[in-house]
Amino acid sequence: MPLRKSWQPKPCALLPLTLANWAASTTIVPEPEGGAHRDYEAAANLLDISLQKHLAELKRLPPADLLVSRYNKFRNIAQFFKTVA
């Protein structure tokens, strides 16, 4: 169906901070000045710090706990209602 010419799309751009509030994101990795595409090495080094940290945390968990925590994390995404109506 052709769209009307006057129709303007309204993209719902979700920024990382918003996503972090919704518990969808765990960590926001900082980028070098001007963006990651300006300096690959610096971006990789910043990413490396986060990766090492999270790998060390995940390494301690046994596989059964890992699966349970992954399931709970997926189920708790976007908690819009905090109280029961």
Binding site: P11, E31, A36, L51, K73
Partner: protein, 153 residues
């Protein structure tokens, strides 16, 4: 570190991964940087092909000790009947099921701009890292993308 021959990545990134001296399986998508690359890769809209390949890689590493690092620009599904006829929704659901059953840690790192279907896939990971300038659009069809790019510049 062994890198699957079907995977192409920038040499600098491969060197960086090798320098960490850990066992990784890296799965990523590339949309392309200029128009020629985007046409060649179809802006990585072949979501069924990508997710199927990812499932094969997941299954092959299911019981190994490899860390699974998903480096991804999440691709949005195409909101068309033809895409659904080719099994787009089934591919996404299959991918989610496979990722939920993996017994190795999964870390998803999101770079660039992405859409809703890929967001589902990265959400199953144990940890989700997002780059600072990442944007997520609920529907990333061509018309919305053009609008978003026009607003950003």
């Amino acid at each position: 570190m062994a890198i699957a021959p079907s995977v192409t990545m920038p040499p600098s990134f491969a060197e960086w991964l090798a320098s960490t001296a850990k066992k990784f399986l890296v799965v990523g998508t590339q949309k392309g940087r200029d128009m020629k690359q985007r046409v060649y890769r179809n802006s990585e809209r072949r979501i069924r092909k990508v997710t199927a390949r990812r499932c094969v890689l997941c299954r092959s590493r299911k019981n190994s000790a490899a860390r699974f690092l998903l480096l991804s620009i999440p691709t949005a599904p195409i909101p068309e009947f033809t895409a659904e006829e080719r099994g787009q929704a089934e591919a996404i659901a299959h991918n989610l099921r496979e990722m939920a059953g993996l017994e190795v840690p999964i870390i998803a790192t999101v770079i660039g701009v992405g859409g809703s279907g890929g967001a589902l896939a990265i959400a199953v990971a144990d940890r989700v890292l997002m780059m600072e300038n990442f944007n997520l659009l609920r529907d990333f069809s061509g018309r919305l993308r053009r609008h978003h790019v026009a607003r950003c510049h």
